[in-house]
Amino acid sequence: MNRRQRTHVNRRRYLTALGAAGSLGLAGCAGLTGGGGNGKSDGTTTKTSYGNVPPVIKDRPTEPYVPTHVEGMEMAGRQTSGDYACALTYSYPHRFWLVTGTRTRKVVITREDTVHLMPVIWDTSAKLVPPDVSPQMTVEKDGEVVADFAPWPMLSQPMGFHFGDNVSLDGDGTYTVTIEVGSPSGRRIGGLQPNDPLSFEFEWDFRQVSVDAISYRDIPSQREGMPGAIPPMDMPFVAMTQAPEPGAIPGTTATLGVTNGGEFQATIIDDASDYGGSSDETYLAVSPRTKYNRFILPMMSLSATLTHQGESVHDGPLSNALHPELGYHYGATITTAEPGTELDVTVDAPPQIGRHEGYETAFVEMNGLSATF
């Protein structure tokens, strides 16, 4: 039928394989009879934390906090394609939180989960990780698809922004992992170009012992749950998901402050020609980042009003963009902004990215912030 249709022997049940084989998957006449139960009895999925993971801390602050433990990661390989590189990394299965609006929901580790699989894709010349693409991962073993999914955009204290999900593998062996990345959704400015579709393929000789050997560090109980964050890990692509230091932001800058663990910087750049506008326009940029680790906060709805001497200069939504110096930020082209202009930023919706432990109570209920240039 297509490139992904392969004869696929179900690893759970033999009868399932008979019903699911690519050669013929027509619904059985069974569906016509409306008979009783189908005899399944193995309720093996667990919905509680699995293994030795400590329970989530009860009283968590509403900002980044030190988690119960820190896990390292391993790299299965690194590939390049033109100006882009992809590292296939993995760690223990993780619990994490997904976000819908201002609701968070915990995803627990299940008995089937083998690893937390994370493809990291970055622009090697601009040294930026584009968060507005959507990798599709296919994991195969012996020609059979083991997993086919779009990993979640996520944020963790050691890694910053990345894509990841828990995956159930089929034991030790050689896996083929394909990662397809389409073009991005956001703006590219300052000479950056949107990536063309990318494809990376890894041959991964997976051994469970290599997961078991990944570092696991328990955090002393007096530190866990305290406001703060464990420091970013020392990997080049992790630094690429950090927003610029306030001093490195071009233009006339202002500090908006902190809300729910998100720290907001803003700048006004008189000449918008390097920012998607023209030389007689001005660019307004807002750069939210995590408190402590300075990681970018993608997938927010931000809007801004600019007021000068009581008169509205700008009032509208900001759109996300990547710029070599500003990194991932939210911005708009405006006509002008005199000194003394007041900026009010509203968070219409918080970052809709998944969170690893220590970030799930932050960046959810975010208030508006103000500053004067």
Binding site: A20, L26, E180, G182
Partner: protein, 425 residues
């Protein structure tokens, strides 16, 4: 059935039988179903000019929504020689199709089907298709998809409430049976080859019956009352274009339509294993429905439309709620308060994982592309908290693996039509 079969649960046996396929599967189905399939017409020329005129013969639910047949089979056909097929092949194919119409009633209780042709087929002719017949080649329709582009000569979409009927039709095509339902049937003519078969099901209970495949959490999450894997009904009367709307109005192909047929894998591990119902309702319908609990079960309570009047516009939801529903995005592609496309999609376990064959009919392929563009919500991802796929309708969970575009000619031209029929048939 022999005595040795009796210890096997009937349901499992039938699944195995169908999976094995071919003549023995057909025999088993006929034996077990014991269905009285109504016979077809003596004179197939009395059937409607529109091949896609299915609705008046199909069942309806309590609200009046059309219920598509439960079992589906798509066959892709190639003609082995260069140039247009000759008279012999045309007559042979038409004869095979008519024999099915004599064997089975044109209804969900019998068999409905439609035959279409790809742009690759029409390339066999020196002339081009008439103006107004819009069948471009298939293409990727989102920045994040990389589908195989199907270019068979022809496609046959068969549907029935009885598995034995679609299996029987295929067996007849393959010359593996000469009689169906007491009527003698004919095989495909020489020169025609079935290059691919795609199978599936839709209807209350069937997805739940087929949830023991890889790619679905093991706690049987697919609701028993759902007609589709994702847990909600579709095909609300007011969310479907009418057959009139999708019909080509003028020219030699008047009475025909266009078909887009794609396959996508569905990530039900994330959908059921990691997301909750609130999120499923918000992304399938709209955040309002999730907040208000508007959708009960599979949504049968909604009646004849998905209640989009109560939901905010898609851009407003994306900006202020951080999530936008699939149906919510679709409201922007309506004309005269009707969608542009008529969906006849069905779920599948092809490839050994849960999937969907999205079959839709529309007057022009552009109508389909416009609909898909709205579903992509690229403008929303650019300017709101909604991601390119995450929280952007159901894009997170679908991986399109193939796409194909077809012209469904009117019935008199359904057997290998010329690109330029000289007179309206």
């Amino acid at each position: 059935m022999t005595d040795t079969d009796r210890g096997i649960p009937r349901r499992e046996f039938l699944k195995s039988a169908v999976a094995i396929g071919g003549a023995s599967a057909l025999a088993a189905c006929i034996d077990w179903e014991s269905a009285n399939v109504p016979k077809g017409v003596d004179d197939p020329s009395t059937l409607p000019r529109r091949q896609h005129a299915w609705n008046s013969t199909l069942a309806r639910d309590d609200h009046g929504n059309v219920v598509v047949p439960r079992h589906h089979l798509i066959l892709l056909l190639d003609y082995g020689a260069d140039g247009p097929p000759g008279q012999e092949v045309r007559i042979g194919f038409e004869s095979a199709l008519q024999s099915l119409e004599r064997a089975y009633e044109w209804s969900n209780e019998g068999l409905v089907f439609a035959v279409g042709y790809s742009p690759a087929y029409f390339d066999r002719f020196d002339t081009t298709l008439p103006d107004g017949v819009d069948i471009p080649g298939p293409q990727a329709l989102a920045p994040f998809e990389d589908p195989d582009l199907d270019t068979p000569d022809a496609i046959v979409h068969l549907a029935s409430d009885h598995a034995q009927v679609v299996l029987g039709a295929e067996q007849a095509f393959r010359a593996e049976t000469e009689e169906l339902n007491g009527i003698s049937v004919e095989a495909l003519p020489d020169g025609l080859t079935i290059t691919d078969r795609r199978t599936g099901f839709v209807g209350r209970g069937l997805p739940a019956d087929h949830q023991d495949v890889d790619g679905i959490p093991e706690n049987d999450p697919v609701p028993e009352d759902s007609p589709l894997y994702m847990g909600f009904m579709s095909g609300f009367e007011k969310n479907q274009a009418s057959e009139d709307r999708v019909t080509i109005a003028e020219g030699p192909f008047a009475g025909g339509t266009t078909m887009h047929a794609s396959h996508m894998f569905l990530d039900l591990e994330q959908w059921y294993g990691q997301d909750d119902r609130y999120h499923r309702v918000a992304t399938m319908f709209c955040p309002h429905h999730a907040n208000e609990g508007t959708v009960e079960g599979a949504g049968l309570n909604l009646g004849t439309d998905s209640g989009m009047d109560e939901c905010a516009p898609a851009d407003e939801a994306a900006r202020t709620q951080g999530v936008v529903g699939h149906s919510q995005k679709m409201t922007s592609v309506r004309e005269d308060d009707s969608p542009l496309i008529l969906r006849r999609d069905f779920d599948s376990t092809d490839g050994g994982r849960p999937g969907l064959h999205f079959v839709s009919l529309q007057a022009t392929i552009s109508d389909f592309n416009d609909t898909r563009e709205a579903m992509n919500g690229e403008d929303l991802a650019d300017s709101s908290a909604v991601g390119q796929r995450t929280n952007n309708g159901i894009l997170q969970y679908i991986d399109v693996t193939s796409r194909g575009n077809y012209l469904i000619p009117p019935r008199p031209l359904r057997a290998f039509p010329p690109a330029r029929p000289e007179v309206p048939a």
